[in-house]
């Protein structure tokens, strides 16, 4: 497999100035984080907002925003400016520290997860890799950080001192917690096939096996996708922020930049779940059929990764435009009574097949 390396020569002067150890342990991750967050995730999130409005418009027989710039391409800038200059309200009876803390608790974990998601292959000997860090329990880190995101919603809903927000917060908490379990269980299937918890290791195992884990683990993929949509509070599971029922759910009382952070957090969650699904099920940076179609390796891994994430994001938006909303208790029914047994069955079947194949190679 051709490993594309980062243009290391550019950083040589810095490396010599700071020293090898410090460079690989501190400076280069810092640079990568800055590039990733400010040139990668945040622009993608803002343009994802525009893409959602345009795609929803196209589904609904209308054009989305097209006034601000050609095809509305400057609309995200207008949105950001608007949110920045809006009045930052703080209800008098709200619990102030919790009110201010809640949006940060939603955004920060979503951004942190990107540190462990690989967008390219491992670096061999003195080269920069395409990921910030390779934790050897990467999947657990992802799941743990996703759970912290739930706190933000609960605290936000409760601290607003508003009955509707409280109900929205409670609903979303119950929903997210009950879909954490199927999400984790769905990821166990590919883990069993890959034999490692590290995300980079999972992609490399897919490369070695020659096919994406989508094909042997179709059921797990489906469960992960559904649980992911529920985790990020999107249609058809967006009851916590259902506009027509609770006005705006847990973020009713937020305005201006705080609301922007909630918004950002939701879209960042979407991207995170797409990225994790891409890595675990769709082969991360691998082209389709890596052994059978070697000419596809010409395209760098990060482009494949980006394309696959875009496919998931499009699917998210497509679902939003098509499906009605599940009612709260039906949502929980689905999670506990259908997703978990199905995921357990999947684990059992995977284990059984692996055992049989080991005995009869």
């Amino acid at each position: 497999m051709i490993a594309l390396t980062a243009p290391l020569a550019l950083f040589d002067p810095l490396r010599h100035a700071v020293g090898d150890d410090l460079f690989y342990w501190a400076v280069s991750p810092a640079i990568k984080i800055l590039v990733l967050v400010f040139l990668g995730i945040l622009p993608v999130i803002t343009y994802l907002v525009l893409a959602e409005r345009k795609i929803l418009g196209f589904i609904q027989a209308r054009v989305g925003p097209n006034r601000v710039g050609p095809w509305g391409l400057l609309q995200p800038i207008a949105d950001v400016m608007k949110l920045l200059v809006k009045e930052d309200t703080l209800p008098i009876q709200a619990v102030k520290w919790a009110f201010i803390l809640a949006p940060c608790l939603v955004v920060a974990p979503a951004l942190i997860i990107f540190a462990v998601i690989p967008m390219g292959p491992r670096a061999a000997g003195g080269k920069l890799a395409w990921y910030v860090t390779d934790v050897n329990t990467g999947v657990l880190v992802v799941l743990a950080l996703a759970t912290i995101g739930v706190y933000g919603l609960i605290i936000g809903g409760w601290s607003s001192n508003n009955k509707f927000s409280l109900m929205g917060g409670l609903r979303s908490a119950a929903q997210m917690i009950s879909y954490e379990v199927p999400q984790g269980l769905a990821l166990v299937g590919p883990l069993m096939l890959a034999g490692t918890l590290s995300l980079v290791g999972i992609v490399e195992a897919q490369a070695k096996a020659g096919w994406w884990y989508l094909f042997p683990q179709l059921v797990a993929f489906f469960i992960y996708l559904v649980a992911g949509v529920a985790e990020s509070n999107r249609n058809p599971f967006d009851l916590p922020e259902a506009e027509s029922e609770l006005v705006a759910g847990f973020h009713t009382e937020y305005s201006g930049m705080r609301f922007a952070l909630f918004f950002l957090g939701e879209y960042a969650n979407m991207i995170v779940i797409s990225a994790v699904a891409t890595t675990v099920f769709l082969g991360g940076w691998l082209p389709p059929f890596p052994h059978l179609l070697p000419f596809l390796h010409v395209v760098p891994g990060i482009i494949w990764f980006f394309l696959k994430v875009v496919v998931f994001l499009f699917a998210y938006i497509w679902f939003r435009g098509t499906f009605p909303r599940y009612r709260f208790d039906q949502l929980m029914d689905l999670g506990w009574k259908w997703m978990i047994p199905l995921a357990l069955l999947n684990i059992f079947a995977t284990g059984l097949i692996k055992l049989l194949l080991a005995h009869h190679p």
């Binding site: 929803l56 589904i59 609904q60 027989a61 209308r62 009955k163 509707f164 109900m167 609903r171 249609n235 058809p236 967006d238 009851l239 259902a242 506009e243 027509s244 029922e245 006005v247 939003r320 435009g321 098509t322 499906f323 009605p324 909303r325 599940y326 009612r327 709260f328 208790d329 039906q330």
Partner: protein, 383 residues
């Protein structure tokens, strides 16, 4: 009545199901995206479950019935537009029908057919709006835009006929103010022929969708006896299985001369009412096509005096099948050109009575579906 509606504030403390501090009182509206106007529902909830629901109306009261008494009969037609503002033509039709009965006018056949066409087009348009708002309340965003796309075509037809899209003022006692413009029948026919595939499109998005079914099957069940006791009419009654449609029972205008079916539901839940209304749209389409074929020639306004006077101490009630139920006008005349009293039997006002009945024990998310399926328009409820 199966269960009397009791004002929960009058219950003695030991009669309550939950201690007062465990109940939460929630105000649903009057400003709320899904109450279709300014309806206020005072809910007593335990978590998500509704213990009691107490509707408070009157936020849109404009004194329409008093306004009727101040002007002669034909000047009141624009006021009737604004009651059920979604379906103005059927309001007009009920009013002019009542006035014609009172004063004793005979409408020429061409006017009767054109009025039927307008009323059925209005039924389609009202049901499209109902579907749009009901779907978006339950969470499906796209039927809203598709329905409004079709509704635009109907509103264009109305605008070419009478000059306005929403508040039509398109009928007068004795007939119609003007005849159809040139080419209107062709445009109408084009629309009607293109319409059934669109209904199939909405059905494809919603009818078999498991999420839609989970949200609507078994929700808001209305038993037939309860419906009759409360005086419910329209698709709500037919969704519970009772075959009562004024167009068949007491045909008016040209309904006696066209063929159409009346869809009935089985279980009286939200899903059945949804199916009933979808099928009504198709049947209305069928009626319009038949009327267009059978349209006779002739005048559109009866011979009538310039000033319509009612006989002294006369009264009349005339009800028609509007999209939401039976809309009726009770007019008392006293010999002058103005009515002495004009009372409106508004279907939404009467259908709203069963919302507390249907929503006891449901979740708040169901309440939204229930209010949506009752298809209320606050202009009618409050007048």
């Amino acid at each position: 009545m199966s269960q009397p509606i009791v004002d929960p504030r009058t219950l003695p403390d030991d009669d309550r199901l939950f201690a007062p501090e465990e109940e939460m009182e929630l105000n649903f509206g009057p400003q709320h995206p899904s109450t279709h106007g300014v309806l206020r529902l005072k809910l007593k909830v335990d978590g998500e479950r509704i213990l009691d629901c107490y509707p408070i109306i009157g936020y849109l009261h404009r004194g329409t019935e008093k306004l009727f008494e101040l002007h002669p009969f034909f000047q009141n037609v624009p006021h009737t537009d604004r009651m059920d503002y979604v379906a103005a033509a059927t309001n007009n039709l009920a009013y002019v029908g009542a006035v014609e009965k009172l004063v004793g006018l005979v409408v020429p056949p061409r006017a009767r057919y054109i009025r039927t066409i307008l009323a059925e087009l209005q039924r389609i348009s009202s049901h499209l709006l109902w579907l749009a708002t009901h779907a978006i309340d339950i969470g499906a965003m796209t039927p809203f835009f598709y329905c409004f796309r079709e509704r635009e075509l109907i509103l264009d037809l109305f605008e070419q006929y009478c000059g306005a899209r929403l508040t039509l003022n398109c009928m007068r006692p004795g007939g119609l103010p003007h005849d159809l413009p040139v080419g209107w029948t062709d445009r109408c026919r084009t629309f009607c022929e293109a319409f059934p595939p669109r209904v199939d499109e909405y059905e494809g998005l919603l009818t078999d969708n498991r999420i839609w079914k989970k949200r609507t099957v078994g929700i808001g069940v209305l038993a037939p006896e309860v419906a009759i006791d409360y005086g419910i009419t329209g698709p709500m009654l037919r969704g519970s299985g009772i075959d009562w449609d004024l167009r068949k029972v007491a045909p008016y205008e040209a309904y006696g001369e066209v063929e159409f079916d009346v869809p009935l539901g089985k279980n009286g839940d939200t899903y059945d009412r949804y199916l009933v209304r979808m099928e009504e749209m198709r049947q209305a389409n069928r009626i319009v096509l038949q009327c267009l074929e059978k349209l006779p020639e002739g005048p559109v306004m009866a011979k009538r005096p310039r000033v319509l006077k009612s006989a002294k101490e006369s009264e009349v009630y005339h009800g028609i099948e509007g999209p939401k139920g039976e809309i009726g006008f009770y007019i008392v005349g006293d010999g002058t050109p103005q009515p002495y009293r004009c009372h409106v039997r508004a279907p939404s006002f009467i259908n709203l009575q069963v919302v507390p009945e249907m929503s006891k024990g449901a979740l708040i998310a169901d309440l939204v579906a229930i209010v949506g399926t009752t298809d209320i328009v606050l202009g009618e409820v409050d007048r």
